[in-house]
């Protein structure tokens, strides 16, 4: 019974981790892409520089979403806490 409760909560936790990470990243990339398009429209000669900068910021935005996803996968498939319920 406790194991079922624990596993159910773990699934919800993993879903929240991935979902909220995806939400934040989607909004962030949207704002980033919009600003990039505006800046290129203002100064088309800076297209290549701005594209490189956009990818740099995109990589930084992705960081904590990827970390959250990795933790969610860890919880689902290699859960370190489950040994306490199963008796070691």
């Amino acid at each position: 019974m406790e194991l079922a409760l624990f596993l159910g909560n773990t699934q919800i936790a993993a879903a929240l981790l991935i979902g909220m990470g995806a939400l934040g990243t989607a909004i962030g990339f949207g704002i980033l892409g919009g600003r990039f398009l505006e800046s290129v429209a203002r100064q088309p000669e800076l297209l290549n520089t701005q594209r490189v900068n956009m990818f740099i910021v995109a990589g930084l935005l992705d960081a904590f979403t990827a970390i959250a996803t990795a933790i969610a996968i860890l919880l689902l498939y290699a859960n370190p806490l489950v040994s306490q319920i199963r008796g070691g």
């Binding site: 960081a63 996803t69 290699a78």
Partner: protein, 279 residues
């Protein structure tokens, strides 16, 4: 990989693919697959580049020399734009980081079971993870090395006295001696957090992206497994689904691989630049 004569369940298959081949226990565990794969990739890739350098001609270059020159030119351009100090170490460091991380990440594009199957049938090894950057030990090793270099650059360019002075006066300055004493511990705490966040975020960013990508490939293989193993459910559509999904995710993953290697390199250069500038 079947553990026994029956086909594995989904969870068994995934868990089997997430275990490193290790020796030792506790703190002294060595992940042999990470060490060997990253060493082999390094030797092959840097050996190839050294060979291109040795046979370089100043006349019309061959194709491989031109390719190496393009990569080096790109990294050198980034260093020149971003690093404002004077050091002979930063550009080779950036080249090493970019090329090595990119090639280690690119091992993720090899189908999931290929290398573990070879290791199992030829060398008799039970578990083998082919991509070193999915092991947080590898990414932390690289980022802690960069962190040590940041500290060394700080001391080398600012002097020990200058470095300590900057720690205590960094974001909050004042000319008033009393305010300086008040601000000093605040500056210290902020500086500590900022310096600690650099290697941790570098390592976990690369690890998170690569680990999630690898697990997604494994999950897509389970779709094909549903067609062949018949322990999960059978549907012939699932094989088509596996091929389509793996292809799509593989193509997107090429972008992720390159982007993560580029980010690691850019952040290394930026951190070196911050460490060598004084305000």
């Amino acid at each position: 990989m079947a553990s026994g004569s029956a086909a594995p369940t989904a969870n068994e298959y995934i868990s089997h693919h997430l275990v490193n081949h290790h020796v030792g226990h506790g703190f002294w565990t060595f992940h042999l697959d990470t060490l060997i794969m990253s060493g082999l990739v390094g030797i092959v890739v840097f050996g190839l580049m050294a060979w291109a350098a040795r046979n370089a001609t100043a006349g019309v270059p061959g194709k491989f020399q031109a390719f190496v020159e393009i990569v080096l030119g790109m990294v050198d351009q980034q260093c020149r734009d971003t690093f404002h100090g004077k050091s002979e170490l930063v550009t080779p460091l950036a080249i090493t980081v970019f090329v090595w991380v990119f090639c280690m990440n690119a091992l993720d594009l090899i189908p999931v079971d290929f290398i573990p199957w070879i290791m199992h049938n030829v060398f008799g090894v039970e578990h083998w993870k082919a991509v070193p950057t999915t092991d947080p030990n590898a990414t932390f090793a690289m980022s802690l090395t960069v962190f040590a270099l940041i500290l060394i650059f700080n001391v080398k360019f600012k002097g020990v006295g200058g470095f300590v002075h900057e720690i205590f006066t960094a974001p909050f300055h004042s000319d008033n001696i009393l305010l300086q004493i008040v601000f000093a511990p605040i500056n210290l705490v902020l500086r500590f957090v900022e310096e600690l966040a650099k290697p941790v975020s570098l390592a976990l960013r690369l690890f998170g992206n690569m680990f999630a990508g690898e697990v997604l490939f494994i999950l897509m293989v389970l779709l094909a497994g549903a067609w062949t193993w018949q322990s999960i459910g059978t549907s012939s559509l699932s094989m088509i689904g596996h091929v389509v999904l793996s292809l799509g995710w593989g193509i997107f993953h090429i972008l992720i691989i390159t982007l993560q290697a580029f980010i690691f390199m850019m952040l290394t250069i930026v951190y070196m630049s911050l460490a060598s500038e004084s305000h």
